[in-house]
């Protein structure tokens, strides 16, 4: 970083420096990262000032209304469905006792492992007219064509179903954590003030969990808005599919960016609604004492109902598509898994590993810089650096491509004018551009983990390291990084898995003839070669289970004073 980082002899380097000057290496590095991350977003936002071309007017006349309508249907449907599934299941596993409760507690997270497009193409086949479900119904009841009604899977309603089944864990996870982290003292006080167990839950626990529940629904909605693969498979045109079509089909980058800008408005609306629903109130925990929650034992019909309610989303979000993928894979593995498949896997793993490494390194520098320089400046830098997570992958892809193309053209112009050589496209269409897009999109993931673990190191450690002669940079490398090595690995793993699953940005930005598992699975599924797509999809699901395991372990440890398996009820 700077020369002051070297742990040089204290006497020699002992000239007093002005303390706490506004700028130093850490702040500058942070500002550069924040600026780089903001570029693609700024490019897209800026596109609204570009003159509207022929294509844009065509889009407004023909499909824009449909995109808005479908997006609203999806948001309403997915929002309501994930809210109900997430809160009810979280409430059952945290406050009740019934057979299988401990199993459901973590199994409810499993749908996190399955990318939405995988569920979409599996169900697209299973539930369509020619698929096994309707076929079995016809065979069993002797129905013919037109004798019965069956909901169409390739419809906005079908998309709501598919997306809800994979995104409800956001609500479940946050609601469950909120219920668990509430001090049981608060509930107990409500009991001594005359509330029965159910009233205490309704009047105290649920209102306290409201911000967390709203946060979970907001995450589910943001994922819904940024989803490309599932809505494409289910033939529900939305902004993301529109951006793709405008970019590749109509070849109009400006119109694609303008569509992206409208999509960002929807994301912004979700974020603002979530902020608004918190009402500016902070529900700080007023009590720091914890105790295992007493759970209410459900018996007989109630217990059976609880089991069914908890099992249903797991069956539809994980087991059913997973089983179908396994069945297909068993059929096709021999022909599909060849040298080409290995190349795909290596491409995916290599890209994901590099993105994870960069994202963690950048996050470490940012978070540590913010630790050294507390204040509004670094806080703003961190917020800008985290922006990408809210932005759909297809929007980031468009923004990065436009920015890189512009840069390449300027460099090319310069070299042609000065040296008479054309440099062509240096960065556009390379892995560098793709990696950059990944880091923009997923930096927030690594930053969250790194910040949280750094915060657990007491400032006294910094003091000890510094007084023992380490500069800030040396302290980071020799003290902080080793202390939080485990968390750095976890943060990297989360980015790794997100990149493995990522579809739209990879699809738009991958270099010519370069494929990953996700892209290949999606392309094969789009060509109706579902069985051939299964091995790649299954590999992604297998990798996707890793963060579910991590989450489960983190949850088991998260509750202070909570020893698993010891209930007082």
């Amino acid at each position: 970083m700077t020369t002051t980082d070297a742990p040089g002899p204290a006497m020699a380097a002992g000239a007093p420096r002005p303390a706490r000057s506004g700028l130093n290496g850490w702040v500058v590095a942070g500002a550069i990262v924040a600026a780089l991350v903001s570029i693609p977003i700024a490019v897209v936002a800026g596109s609204v000032f570009a003159p509207a071309g022929e294509v844009w007017r065509h889009l407004v006349d023909t499909v824009l209304g449909l995109y808005v309508r479908n997006s609203l249907i999806l948001m309403l449907g997915v929002g309501a469905t994930t809210l109900i599934i997430g809160v009810v299941t979280a409430w059952l596993v945290t406050l009740c006792r019934f057979p299988g409760r401990a199993l459901f507690e973590w199994a409810l997270l499993l749908p996190f492992a399955v990318p939405a497009y995988v569920v979409a193409f599996t169900y697209g086949w299973m539930f369509e007219y020619a698929g096994p479900v309707q076929g079995a119904l016809r065979a069993f009841f002797g129905w013919g064509h037109g004798d019965y009604w069956f909901p169409a899977i390739r419809s906005p309603g079908g998309a709501v179903f598919v997306l809800s089944m994979v995104f409800y864990p956001y609500v479940y996870l946050l609601a469950r954590t909120a219920f668990l982290e509430q001090s049981v003292c608060v509930i107990e006080v409500a009991r001594t003030l005359g509330r029965g167990p159910w009233r205490a839950f309704a009047e105290v626990a649920l209102p306290l969990a409201r911000p967390a529940i709203a946060g979970g629904v907001a995450l589910a909605l943001m994922e819904t808005l940024s989803n490309f693969g599932a809505v494409k498979q289910l033939a529900v045109p939305t902004f993301t599919t529109g951006i793709f079509r405008t970019w590749f089909g109509l070849g109009d980058a400006t119109a694609a960016a303008q569509l992206s800008a409208v999509l960002m408005l929807f994301v912004l609306a979700v974020i603002l609604a979530e902020r608004f629903s918190r009402g500016g109130r902070r529900f700080d925990h007023t009590s720091r004492r914890y105790r295992a929650l007493p759970r209410f034992r459900l018996r007989g019909a109630k217990a059976a109902a609880a089991v069914i309610v908890c099992a249903t989303p797991i069956v539809f979000g994980f087991l059913l598509p997973g089983a179908q993928l396994v069945a297909w894979t068993l059929d096709t593995a021999a022909t599909v898994i060849d040298a080409r498949f290995v190349t795909l896997a290596l491409n995916s793993v290599g890209l994901a590993a590099m993105a994870a490494l960069i994202a963690v390194a950048v996050a470490l520098v940012l978070a540590y810089g913010a630790r050294l320089r507390r204040g509004p400046m670094m806080a703003a830098i961190l917020r800008f650096a985290s922006l990408g997570y809210a932005i759909p992958g297809s929007v980031i892809a468009v923004g990065v491509l436009l920015a890189f193309a512009w840069t390449d053209n300027r460099v090319d112009d310069f070299f042609r004018a000065q040296f008479g050589v054309s440099t062509g496209l240096l960065l556009s269409g390379t892995l560098v551009a793709l990696l950059f897009a990944y880091v923009v999109r997923f930096l927030a993931v690594s930053l969250n983990g790194v910040e949280a673990s750094l915060a657990k190191i007491t400032p006294a450690i910094d003091g000890a390291a510094r007084t023992l002669g380490l500069g800030p940079g040396a302290a980071l490398i020799r003290v902080h990084a080793p202390i939080i090595a485990g968390s750095l690995f976890t943060a990297g793993l989360l980015v790794f898995v997100d990149v493995m699953k990522e579809l739209p940005a990879t699809l738009i930005m991958r270099p010519f003839n370069f494929n990953t598992l996700a892209v290949r699975a999606f392309e094969l599924a789009s060509d109706e070669q579902l069985a051939a797509a299964a091995p790649a999809a299954l590999a992604i699901v297998a990798v996707g289970i890793v963060p579910v395991v991590l989450l489960t372990l983190a949850i088991a440890r998260s509750r202070p004073g909570h020893r698993p398996g010891r209930g007082l009820g």
Binding site: S183, C185, V186, E188, V189, A190, R191, T192, L193, G194, R195, G196, P197, A200, V204, P207, L208, R210, R281, R282, F283, D284, H285, T286, S287, R288, R289, R566, L568
Partner: protein
């Protein structure tokens, strides 16, 4: 089932175990009407569990609990906390963060409506002097303010019994003294029967009408604060209630010898080891020779109103700590003679416990 005993709280042979670990072991305890009883003991002695049993947050495995003459718990059956009519203040107050101060206090006034409910809550807030913050949220209050709101909230439904779980331990020392006095005033005005759990003997002695000392799930001694301090039932209590010096002795002829003469050791066999426990204020700097022992001052630790003087007895390697008034302060290295107040010296069979 109304009992003739109209005490606010009666525990009879109450036992409770977590995972087979007996946290409360056959406890009898009574809190009379309007009485303030301090439940005193080191951490982990079961005193908080006892409080939870009284509140109905736990169901005792053995014994019975009566509140205001009504039986609320017997083995395997328990009146739930919401139907017991007890007020509870937790160590960290556990205010409802999503409700204003006023709504927190009004929370327990379920059977009241609208303006009356509001008026009663405001009355409680004015009793604790917190009317000014009625519209604020808990996170905007200081620790002392939160404590007073929690007290108002617990008292608002006019419970028959108030339970306080280490209610001052979250406050810094200066504030604590003031909040303690303030709480005593409020409890007095409300005329409420109170059980307060604490690990701080000074706090228990300062506040309580009666103290029950608890250890390992059992109540060891129960008496007025001064009586317990003057006549602790065993060495543990003597040590727990205040700073103490310990001299070891071997009983001979029914007496325990010491540099200060012999002390009667009733009921201890000859040859048995005993501890002579002497409070620091039981040692005095004396002028005369009679009954006194020569010693050297090793250190003086001034405390303002008094000082702790560390002394080494002649011909004896042991250091003793004496608390002396600010009047005559010896200097380190000075030769002094020390006398002993026999009323502040206790003889107990030797225990392995060195605490206190």
């Amino acid at each position: 089932m109304v009992d003739r005993d109209d005490a606010a709280l009666v525990l009879e042979g109450v036992s409770h175990a977590y995972d087979g670990l007996r946290a409360v072991d056959g406890v009898d305890l009574r809190v009379g009407m309007g009485e303030l009883v301090g439940l005193l003991g080191p951490s982990g002695c079961g005193k908080s569990t006892l409080l939870r049993l009284a509140a109905g947050l736990e169901t005792p495995q053995e014994g019975r609990v009566r509140i205001a003459g009504r039986e609320v718990a017997r083995p395997g059956a328990s009146v739930p906390p919401e139907a017991r009519g007890v007020g509870l203040v937790f160590q960290d107050y556990a205010l409802f963060p999503h409700l204003t101060v006023l709504d927190n206090v009004a929370f327990g006034l379920r059977d009241r409506r609208g303006t009356e409910r509001r008026r009663m809550a405001m009355d409680m807030l004015s009793l604790v002097g917190m009317v000014g913050v009625a519209g604020r949220y808990p996170h905007a209050l200081s620790g002392g303010e939160q404590q007073r709101v929690a007290l108002a909230r617990a008292l608002a439904p006019k419970p028959a019994l108030l339970l306080l779980d280490e209610p001052f331990s979250g406050l810094d020392i200066r504030l604590r003294d003031r909040v303690r006095d303030e709480t005593l005033r409020v409890l007095g005005e409300a005329g409420i029967s109170t059980l307060i759990v604490t690990h701080d003997p000074e706090e228990a002695m300062y506040m309580a009408d009666r103290i029950a000392v608890m250890r390992a799930g059992r109540i060891l001694q129960e008496d007025a604060p001064a009586a317990i301090y003057r006549a602790p039932a065993d060495g543990f209590i003597a040590r727990f209630l205040g700073d103490i010096n310990c001299l070891h002795a071997t009983v001979a002829g029914g007496k325990a010898p010491s540099p200060f003469g012999c002390f009667p050791a009733k009921g201890v066999a000859d040859g048995a080891r005993v501890d002579l426990l002497i409070r620091p204020e039981g040692l005095t700097l004396a002028d005369g020779e009679v009954g006194t022992v020569a010693a050297t001052v090793r250190a003086v630790h001034p405390l303002g109103h008094s000082a702790i003087v560390v002394l080494r007895l002649d011909g004896d390697g042991r250091d003793l700590r004496a608390r002396v008034g600010a009047g005559r302060m010896p200097a380190a290295g000075e030769r002094v003679r020390i006398g002993l107040d026999r009323a502040q010296t206790f003889v107990f069979p030797c225990t392995e416990s060195g605490g206190g």
